[in-house]
């Protein structure tokens, strides 16, 4: 039964998928979060973040309709994101404990300290815009939310990557780019759906940039993570991520026609938003699949040991 160390390492390099386990049972626990709460929290937060930044730029560029939609989406999205997060807590009445401490080692603590001020500022800005009261303060709040917006787009990638869930931790280099791209397309999608064509040129461009980043990062997750990439290609995750890619491409294509056709613009926006939902649920599903099969825990760790020759490197 026992083999010498070197032969095991050799074997790991030749046949990476071979591994031993305890009755095939998982080693790490799968994420304890609920679906749809947490994937929606990721999607809504990203959409809100990109929209807030767009709204700020639209305000200084004199595009009032785009600014208006961006401000409303930022407020609505971030409040819904907060609601999804609270709903997911085992003890929802203790949600304020999230702000009990500021803990740099916890991406959820850092994230809460981004999400809480962001949603407050975005909501203040939207309220001022809707009521016409305290305009200067509303504009200031909107500007601050716009500055925090990009952080809203990417902190959730670190939240997922800082776990022992193999698909997420191994994907730590690509998830921030994927989430940034996905947030940009979703924010652009909301604008394309709700803003008249005279003011959507920036959203169109942002959508194209986001789509390029998203598709490139998605490709790397599906191919560059060794055996763990399987979890991004197969099963429920594979289906969702393929749908996400197709919808992103469709949204990008339709957005090019959106200057002339209101219908094309709306369809492009809807496709981008649906793509965002599919991508977030897909990444979540890949994490769950990678935690369920001990292969994705054991094989990368064995490969790492074979590469570095020592534990914990």
């Amino acid at each position: 039964m026992s083999r010498a160390q070197p032969s095991r390492r050799e074997r790991a390099m030749v046949e990476p998928a071979e591994f031993r386990s305890y009755y095939g049972r998982p080693i790490v626990k799968e994420p304890a979060w609920e679906q749809p709460d947490v994937p929606l929290y990721l999607f809504l937060g990203g959409t809100a973040g990109a929209s807030a930044s767009m709204a700020t730029m639209a305000r200084v560029s004199g595009l009032p309709k785009l600014a208006r939609v961006g401000t409303l989406v930022a407020a609505g999205g971030s409040l819904a994101s907060v609601a999804a997060l609270i709903h997911d807590l085992g003890r929802p009445e203790r949600f304020l404990y999230m702000l009990r401490v500021f803990k740099p080692t916890s991406p959820l603590s850092v994230g809460s300290w981004i999400l809480a001020p962001f949603s407050g500022l975005a909501t203040a800005s939207a309220a001022s815009m809707l009521t016409g009261r305290l305009r200067p303060i509303g504009t200031l709040a909107g500007g601050a939310a716009g500055l925090l917006g990009p952080a809203m787009c990417t902190y959730t990638a670190v939240l997922l990557a800082d776990t022992a869930t193999p698909a997420w931790h191994e994907g730590r280099g690509d998830l921030p780019v994927l989430f940034a791209g996905s947030a940009a397309t979703s924010g652009a999608g909301a604008a394309l759906l709700l803003v008249p064509a005279t003011e959507t040129a920036p959203a169109r461009r942002l959508g194209l940039a986001g789509a390029a980043a998203e598709l490139a990062a998605g490709h790397r997750l599906e191919h560059n993570l060794g055996v763990v990439s399987e979890t991004y290609r197969g099963g429920r995750a594979g289906t969702l991520l393929k749908a996400g890619k197709a919808l992103t491409a469709l949204g990008a294509g339709l957005s090019l026609l959106s200057k002339r056709s209101r219908v094309a613009a709306a369809a492009a926006g809807a496709a981008y938003l649906a793509a965002g939902v599919c991508t977030r649920f897909g990444v979540y599903a890949a994490g769950v699949a990678s935690a369920r099969d001990p292969k994705y825990t054991v094989v990368p760790q064995r490969e790492r040991m074979a590469r570095t020759g020592s534990p914990g490197q």
């Binding site: 626990k29 560029s61 003890r91 009990r100 603590s109 990009p150 997420w168 040991m305 534990p311």
Partner: protein, 290 residues
């Protein structure tokens, strides 16, 4: 200062679990449940027979703070009952062994929270519910935990878990309430073979090395220590093991790392991506002024 941040007022306490003398009696599981009032599984069907040798517990979790693993392996008969490791003094039946006969080797191991030096569960907990005690152990404060569940996927060993009907996370406390009074943890107290040994980690580590050397001298060359190395991916564990096969055979990760170790790099990456979003938004408005 210890690795984990406490001044050396109190030596680090932990477990050395010598699986070579575990007889799979599960006294540790029972004693833990009794002392800590750990409930039955959320899902009563979890009380079923699992069909995994004598293991009907399955894994560590909110309601199992000790878990005895049972592994049956086909080995040449000559490997069975040859050293004091496998020889539990059980009566045997049948004809004397032939060289090419196969026998069964039974591995048993009582698993528990590792009380990591660099504990991912503690690092990622946003509320501060998880904390490090004066004994260098890792404990959840139930009055602070808001059940966010972040610790659950963070643990590289799959130890901590949310209790569904309660909503909060639970795991082994290394019997914080007992060791504070100078008692040994319930599981170690109940272990009839001293497979579970409680004590100062520095002393346990020494004892573990001696035990491994004795087993090697006895021909049990597969004996190995797991979690004793302060240079491993979690900085060594407060609860460590002597195993007779590769860790993954027992359901343990072969090379666990605390993922917060990569946190600075991950934040840099996310920061760069966020700057990318900002740049893309600004650039997309170029020439858009009306």
């Amino acid at each position: 200062m210890s690795e984990s941040g406490y001044a050396d007022a109190q030596p680090r306490m932990g477990f050395f679990t010598d699986t070579s003398v575990c007889i799979g009696c599960k006294a540790c599981e029972v004693a833990c449940k009794e002392w800590n009032a750990v409930p039955a599984p959320d899902d009563p069907s979890g009380m079923d027979l699992l069909g995994l040798s004598y293991d009907n517990t399955g894994d560590l979790g909110a309601n199992n703070w000790r878990h005895v693993a049972f592994i049956e392996q086909q080995v040449p008969a000559s490997r069975v009952n040859k050293s004091d490791v496998d020889n539990l003094g059980m009566p045997t039946i049948g004809a004397p062994e032939q060289e090419d006969d196969t026998g069964v080797r039974w591995l048993m191991s009582s698993d528990v929270c590792k009380h990591c030096t660099h504990a991912a569960c503690l690092d990622v907990c946003p509320t501060g519910a998880l904390f490090r005690t004066e004994f260098d152990t890792v404990v959840v404060q139930p009055d602070i935990c808001n059940g966010c569940g972040y610790c659950v996927p963070a643990c590289p060993y799959g130890v901590i878990e949310k209790r569904e009907d309660d909503g909060r996370a639970f795991k082994c406390t290394l019997c914080y309430d007992r060791i504070g009074d100078g008692l040994e943890p319930a599981c170690a107290k109940a272990c009839p073979t001293d497979s579970i040994q409680y004590g100062e980690v520095s002393e346990l580590r020494q004892r573990a090395v001696e035990r491994k050397q004795a087993l090697h001298a006895d021909g049990v060359t597969e004996a190995r220590l797991y979690g004793d190395d302060p240079d491993d991916g979690v900085g060594g564990t407060g609860a460590f093991f002597l195993l007779l096969d590769e860790p993954e055979v027992y359901g343990l990760p072969p090379d666990p790392v605390v993922t917060t170790r990569d946190l600075p790099a991950m934040w840099r990456r996310a920061g760069a991506a966020a700057l990318g979003v900002a740049a893309a938004v600004v650039a997309s408005f170029a020439g858009a002024r009306r």
